[in-house]
């Protein structure tokens, strides 16, 4: 009997043990199910690579066929668009389900549901700035249009069809690690994705930083540090001298200018803003520049480098449509690519689409705010956060007629009266999806222009080329109508705002645009869109190096082939170094020690190419960082937020204005100029690298030699820069670090520490039919258990391309994979 009781007790104990092994503990996954070979991570290793194979999908109307080629790109064939979109949703979920969902958890501010309270401040940021409000407003627009409604509904049904047939044992490994199940996809998630991108590409608001700089450094210094048009010269997207053949519509006079708010502000959660990481290029040339006499179009949009990759390559084919390119998992259609007649690509417009206003409360209860001469009661956006392992948290966000108050006494702990209401143009309802739908179907120049009319936010430069040798570029977005210098760049009182003026937009047909320019090419690289003759203000943060490298190359280009374009996309010339380094070196008094001489010599003999296997770029960029740091030491260590001027403007000040007041170092009694700053920065650079290359002392001599060797390696640009492609959940084990790639910010090959060319595409019309070459830093598969997860990284880092298939029918596609 005692044995029996022991047996029962043991059984009970085992049940309890299994129960706990089935539950995640904090960040540790549920160990029992996670380690179980039949259900846990071992089982996730059974995932197949989708390649040289085909599947049939039963759609809402008929059957679609997905043919996977040798690198896992799906070529989808259907009889109608409903089935096509359904199959695209299915294919995206099949390869990228976890990524699609996780991105939308981030966009919707729901990460607390997966990882608990540590994500709360990030989630609150997403919801307080209004990503969800914006998505809901644009979903209403999207569903009003029967075509876009069909797109998102068919796509959603396809994603859910995949989810519904998935068994828990087959969930991607991230679900098992974090411990949750896929939920159904919804049309709202398609809308959220667009706003997520809008946040990523426009939410780097600088009004607060600009106001602070103006207040602290004065008007004159401000104009030198942050000029609208950088001196001495810009090289805008629309060639200088292009005539504007329209009458500007401004009906607001200069007296409408809102006066500036006299206060210093801070941004408590700067890390949640999108970083200033511009680096996108696109260009096209017509036949006058190419060997074939036909156009070539190129694009390399720059985004955070992540795994699974942000882009997913796909071909979509049904009667009346044959298009190929890349999309973002979660989006129907093709975002960048080509069809049989045209090709297009995008870069970020970098235009300012945010206005900040200081709020004047009625009283200390903060229930109403001043607008005009009256007090208006707030409306509230009440948000509930479900927290893993905790209670729900409710957040009440004050809404004004222009937008929400992001920071207040409950968020960011701004306890004084310095609260700001933010107007963000992404909150204006739009149906951006239709732009891509019509671009996918476009046959000519007019179709392309008609397609762009739908496009609102984030503003983009759409470059275009077609089989008839037309080339074009247009900057498209819902841009604010501003005409008075400074308008929209600073924090101004909400009480004085003219809402009609705030909401006014530049008419679509007056956005910067050029067709078949005389120079034979179009190009954008996040620079100023236009010169001063354009009748509207185009304030933003612009770059002024990559554009000049590309434009000077294309100006002299003749007989170019797609390979020449590949070389240009992978060009590592640092024009910043080429222009500023001679001045830096001529100001240097190098002290006579080995390390200083070594670094100075390396810089002197450098050819300005930021190649991955050289050391000079490491020295130069560290040196430049210290130059900026010593110049703008005024911005350090205060609670006030500032922004670093663009390198182009700082370089210009060093060369042409060496006595500029910010060169003075704050904590010295003497007055420093650019020369002293340069020497201080160089000394710091030498100190930094002697530390880096110093072997640690208490090592055995043998190890010592090995360590010196690794330290020599550490100075090489590849290792010093450490370009990393990071897994979305920030798991190091699923990330790829220290990629052997050159380039940097302000270089055409803009591969920096954590961002870079996220998709390199060349579309060559040489044969009369477009041939696409492409590569991106990742792979078609979003599953860390497959080779496809990181497959393309090697070619991407080497500047090589895949020649992509563009099949004209299902039969040719099936034949092609059978012959493998």
């Amino acid at each position: 009997m005692a044995k029996k009781i022991t047996g029962v007790l043991l059984a009970v104990l085992l049940v309890v043990l299994v129960y706990f092994l089935n539950k995640p503990l904090g960040d540790t996954p549920a160990l029992g199910s996670f380690l179980s070979p039949t259900h846990g991570f071992w089982k996730s290793a059974a995932a197949k690579e989708n390649r040289n194979t085909s599947i049939e999908i039963k759609g809402p109307k008929g059957t679609a066929t997905i043919v996977y080629d040798e690198i896992g790109i799906p070529h989808i064939f259907a009889e109608n668009e409903e089935d096509l979109m359904y199959a695209q949703g299915y294919a995206e979920a099949r390869d990228r389900l976890w990524q699609m969902e996780f991105q939308m958890y981030a966009a919707a501010g729901r990460l607390t549901e997966l990882v608990g309270e540590k994500a709360l401040s990030m989630d609150r940021f997403s919801r307080r700035i209004g990503i969800v409000r914006a998505a809901e407003a644009s979903l209403v627009e999207t569903e009003k249009n029967p075509v876009s409604k069909m797109l998102i509904e068919s796509f959603t049904a396809g994603v859910n069809a995949y989810i519904d047939q998935l068994k828990p044992a087959d969930y991607p490994v991230e679900y098992k690690l974090i411990g949750y199940q896929p939920e159904h996809w919804t049309p709202l998630k398609c809308a959220l994705l667009m706003k997520y991108m809008a946040k990523d590409l426009t939410y780097y608001d600088t009004d607060v930083e600009n106001s602070n700089a103006l207040r602290v450094f004065g008007e004159e210094a401000y104009q030198k540090m942050y000029p609208d048009f950088p001196a001495p010269a810009i090289d805008p997207i629309i060639p200088v001298g292009t005539k504007w053949d329209f009458k500007s519509v401004d009906s607001f006079s200069a007296k409408d200018k809102n006066k500036l708010t006299a206060a210093l502000y801070q941004n408590p959660y700067k890390e949640f803003y999108s970083s200033k990481f511009y680096g996108s290029n696109n260009w096209c040339v017509n036949g006058s520049k190419t060997k074939s006499g036909k156009p070539i179009l190129c694009g390399d949009p720059h985004l955070n480098l992540s795994l699974p990759s942000i882009w997913y390559s796909v071909q979509l084919n049904c009667p009346g449509l044959n298009v190929e390119g890349v999309t973002i998992p979660g989006a129907p259609g093709v975002i960048i690519g080509h069809n049989e007649n045209i090709a297009w690509s995008v870069t970020n417009a970098e235009r300012d689409v945010i206005n900040n206003f200081s709020v004047e409360y009625q009283d200390k209860n903060r229930k109403a705010y001043k607008l005009g001469n009256e007090y208006v009661p707030f409306e509230y956006d009440v948000q509930t956060y479900k927290v893993k392992g905790g209670k729900d948290i409710v957040d009440s966000i004050r809404l004004t007629k222009v937008g929400s108050i992001v920071y207040d006494e409950t968020y960011g702990e701004i306890n004084d009266q310095k609260h700001i209401a933010t107007y963000w143009r992404a909150e204006e309802p739009s149906n951006d999806l239709m732009t891509f739908y019509y671009l996918n179907h476009a046959k000519n120049q007019q179709d392309y222009l008609d397609a762009l009319k739908y496009y609102s936010c984030p503003g983009q430069n759409f470059v275009y080329a077609d089989v008839n040798n037309n080339i074009s570029i247009k900057q498209q977005g819902n841009f604010m109508l501003r005409t008075v210098s400074g308008d929209g760049s600073f924090v101004t009182p909400l009480a004085n705002v003219n809402i009609a003026k705030l909401k006014a937009r530049i008419p679509v047909e007056q956005n910067p645009y050029v067709l078949n320019p005389e120079r034979g090419f179009c190009c954008s690289a996040n620079q100023n869109p236009v010169d001063k003759t354009y009748p509207y203000l185009t304030n933003g943060i612009y770059e002024n190096y990559r554009n000049r490298v590309i434009n000077s190359t294309l100006t002299t280009a003749t007989n170019y082939t797609w390979q020449d374009m590949g070389k240009l996309q992978n060009n590592n010339l640092s024009l910043l170094a080429k222009e500023i380094l001679p001045t830096l070196l001529s100001n240097l008094s190098v002290s006579d020690d080995a390390e200083s001489n070594k670094i100075a010599a390396a810089l002197k003999s450098w050819n300005y190419m930021a190649d991955y296997n050289t050391d000079a770029p490491s020295y130069f960029y560290k040196f430049w960082d210290y130059v900026e740091q010593s110049t703008y030491d005024e911005m350090e260590g205060t609670a006030t937020s500032f922004r670093l001027p663009e390198p182009y403007n700082t370089a210009n000040l060093i060369i042409n204005d060496a006595k500029f007041k910010l060169f003075d170092v704050v904590n010295t009694d003497t007055v420093e100029t650019a020369k002293e700053v340069i020497n201080i920065a160089f000394k710091k650079t030498v100190a930094f690298f002697s530390q880096l290359s110093k072997p640690s002392n208490n090592m055995l001599s043998k190890q010592n030699a090995a360590e010196t060797e690794t330290n020599k390696e550490a100075v090489l640009w590849q290792h010093y820069k450490n370009t990393s492609i990071t897994h979305l959940a920030r798991l190091n084990a699923f990330s790829v670090k220290d990629v052997a790639i050159g380039g940097y910010n302000n270089i055409v090959n803009a591969a920096s520490e954590g961002a870079g060319p996220s998709w390199r595409m060349i579309v060559d019309f040489a044969s009369g039919k477009p041939q696409c070459y492409g590569v991106y830093p990742g792979g078609q598969s979003g599953n860390p258990a497959t080779k496809g997860f990181t497959e393309f990284i090697d070619k991407w880092s080497k500047g090589e391309y895949y020649k992509l298939h563009f099949f004209d029918s299902k039969e040719t596609a099936l034949k092609a994979i059978k012959s493998k």
Binding site: V18, F41, N732
Partner: protein, 136 residues
């Protein structure tokens, strides 16, 4: 008999876990313990080998077919968070031990609950048709 028991546990676990939860092998081991013998030590070993070998074999099969691609990453993940070196071998060992121990204990618990008298009554009842296994 011992070999039969080990195989029964392994095969039934294998079949069951394609439709049932991850802890199915322990239920199988427990039921085998109830049905086949009341020697707890013998049953412990049968459960230990039955589930242990099944888990080891299946994990190895999946892992080799995957070229250790995922297991290497999971090992690195554990190494990162535990700040100690975890290899794929150790992962495999932990997995096998977990399955083996739970399997062994489950089978032992089953054997301990049933004494010879109860088992005889159970057999008699099944034979007399009072309990029938309904198969679809």
């Amino acid at each position: 008999m011992f070999i039969v028991k080990v195989l029964a546990i392994a095969i039934l676990s294998f079949l069951g876990t394609f439709f049932l939860p991850w802890y199915t092998p322990f239920i199988v081991a427990f039921l085998t313990g109830i049905a086949l013998s009341n020697k707890p030590g013998n049953n412990f070993l049968a459960g230990l080998f039955g589930v242990g070998l099944f888990w080891l074999g299946y994990a190895l099969f999946l892992d080799i077919r995957n070229d250790h691609l995922l297991s290497g990453k999971i090992a690195a993940l554990f190494s990162d968070s535990l700040k100690t070196d975890i290899s794929v071998g150790i992962l495999l060992l932990i997995t096998t031990l977990l399955g083996a121990l739970l399997g062994g204990l489950s089978a032992m618990a089953g054997a301990m609950i049933m004494d010879d008298g109860s088992r005889a009554r159970l057999r008699k009842a099944v034979k007399s048709g009072r309990y029938t296994l309904k198969m679809k």
